[in-house]
Symmetry: D2
Subunit: 127 residues, 4 copies
């Protein structure tokens, strides 16, 4: 990252940026693909496309996307559903210098809410 | 389609509806996936996901999606692009009763515009 | 429309195109804005933005967008919802030459489905 | 935030979360609205809608959205454009406990890239 030309624009530490970049990836996924038509048959191709599109973004180490078949609602006369945030289970790991953050998006039953949270974060707290 | 419970809601003929449904599919594709991060490596998975998501929608006979690698712009410090309407070449065929419409979305050089048009339409003009 | 440079690309009649264009507008709206964060307080600005963005598109005579406050689901620890197709009530009128189509998107209770349909269509069935 | 029921899910400090939440908001904005039809006349309503939708999300203190009229490209036979990331200038401030982050999305000429970065971040680096 020492050579990264974007570095000069950032306030804070590599750790701050790792957390920030993890948030970007989750926000992007939720708002890009929600609304896409969906059945059990089409879900795997959407999972793969989201993963591939996430990997091309800056700082991504790995990403895993699963669409919850059990919560999927197929309905109406044509028997299909659409992707909602509640159906997404995403984990994405980003690395910035020696800092690393893992962000998760998943529906949390107790909260009745598709929560995005930092599952893990590590790295120096000084820049 | 005689049994289609949505039929009662429609004004016009099956041919009118075929044209309408072709338009829905193209408008949906353009506005669902534009903005997705993209490289040559990730393009095939996005093409497949768009095709699969389109096939689950009502009345679709077949669909073909291609992302134009030649016009794709990879840029910035992280060397990736995003999907734009200009990059999409979509053909989708819908059937409603005995009527059929083929809709196309493609960038038309002479117009400098990603045009959606009816490439073919056939069927009775009376309901 | 006689001078419209896109005309040469279209198969079919002005009426076919009117139906097609109505479909485009509804498909575009559903897939562009679904997923946007939403409360009763933010709904009016989203209705206005969707209407304004639709009016700039080709052939649109008028458009009306309403987000159903009664069906809106505010939930989770932060008490907000997101736009879904079920919440949208859209009517859009397009004119192509002497043909005119009115397309509607609304949740239809009997079908448990957000249906897009041609509410009205008129114009010569010969090109 | 002491009472925030989501707190137990988060690794790291309030400062980590502030950075993360700022990233979420910017990623969400970019991928929700990119592709929306746009002219100078429709831009103000879209700016207001994006601001209103961002304010309903967790932890947002303030947000400012501007669409760059000078870089806006109106083209094709119908003389309109679409929203791209390059046109967006967003600043969003989030607060988590005593930590605060300001995230920015803007097109950076030197990078030829719409960069999302932490413009400011402050708060304890210990949890």
């Amino acid at each position: 990252m020492a050579d990264d030309p974007t570095r000069a624009y950032f306030a804070g530490t590599d750790r701050d940026r790792a957390a920030f970049e993890a948030g970007i990836k989750l926000g992007s996924i939720a708002h890009q693909y929600v609304g896409a038509p969906l059945t059990e048959a089409s879900a795997p191709s959407l999972e793969r496309a989201i993963e591939a599109a996430t990997r091309v973004q800056p700082q991504v180490e790995w990403v895993r996307v699963r669409i919850d078949r059990k919560r999927m609602q197929v309905r109406g006369p044509y028997r299909y559903g659409v992707l909602t945030e509640d159906l997404l289970h995403v984990e994405v790991a980003v690395r910035v210098g020696s800092a690393r953050a893992v962000g998760t998006l998943r529906y949390v039953t107790e909260l009745d809410y598709p929560l995005m949270y930092l599952k893990a974060i590590g790295g120096p707290t000084k820049g």
